[in-house]
Amino acid sequence: MKKLFAFTALLAVITLTGCAKKTPHDYSAFRASKPASILVLPAENHTTDIAAAHSLTSLVTQPLAESGYYVFPVAVVEETFKQNGLNNATDIRSVSTTKLHDIFNADAALYIDINTYGTKYLIVDSETRVTASAKLVDLRSGKQIWSGSATASDNESSNNNQSALGMLIAAAVHQIASNVSDKAHDVAAITSARLLTAGDDGALLPGPRAKAGKI
């Protein structure tokens, strides 16, 4: 009886602390902005692999859209910039938020930086890693409302993926792996999901098209 009582007490403590988070992320600017649509600008590639930008850009729509946002068609957007003489990410970044808002009427723009992309060959092993960071800027006010970064590697042990995100990632990898045989691109799918899936503290807030009942 005493044992059972102790067990119950322990459970209660775990329950009360299990989901609690440390210092909650400051979302005041994000909440005030309430973006519904996101314009993803062509990613800025800081790596030596020229395939990195298009690889990651082709993978960002899913996590953002499933988080509840309208995501502008990434390749069509890039084409529009090209038609206007803007051929690389650096030039496109110099376009003012006012101008972007005029053309696309998007609530926010996502600026992505790719810092690592590809396979490093070590003496006994190799590692494929993709690291990226992103910031979300409100196109009506010009203010940054969120930033984040994420990394993924094919050398990770499988036990650090948690719950929903873990499942999502597993599904994303499975989906990609069955169609494209490109390791860095597969890993980029995980990086993209980690970087741009709403829900966790510090991550994006869910958008208006997200299903109710989340956060």
Partner: protein, 117 residues
């Protein structure tokens, strides 16, 4: 005693499920993102990607789920590249209908036929 036992069981069950978020996709994705990647890599020969995206639309219909944001617009771009502006406009309009957030941009694309070409 029985009450406590029951409470413990319920608490355990709650604990094991409380933090898990069941995630069902809002959209049907099919090969949309893979098609984007191929488009970026090859650029030319839009016919193959047109077939892929039309297949995704059919599959989504069969599963009774909406297609993802941007898919209709991407298909529109492919039709423009294939020299089929009428079909392109149908797709830009479909994007606009499904996602009113895209209306200004789709209008912009249709106003500047050259802009999308």
């Amino acid at each position: 005693m029985r009450v406590i036992k029951y409470t413990a069981a319920v608490a355990t069950a709650l604990l094991l499920t409380a933090c898990a978020q069941k995630k069902e996709n809002i959209y049907y994705w099919g090969d949309y993102q893979n098609s984007l990647y191929s488009f970026y890599q090859n650029g030319s020969a839009p016919e193959k990607e047109i077939a892929t995206l039309n297949k995704v639309i059919e599959e989504a219909k069969a599963k009774n789920k909406p297609v993802a944001p941007g898919l209709h617009a991407q298909l529109g771009l492919l039709y423009v590249n294939a020299g089929q502006p009428d079909l392109a406009f149908q797709q830009f309009t479909a994007e606009k209908t499904a996602f009113p957030e895209s209306a200004s941009y789709m209008d912009f694309l249709m106003r500047n036929k050259q802009g999308a070409k």
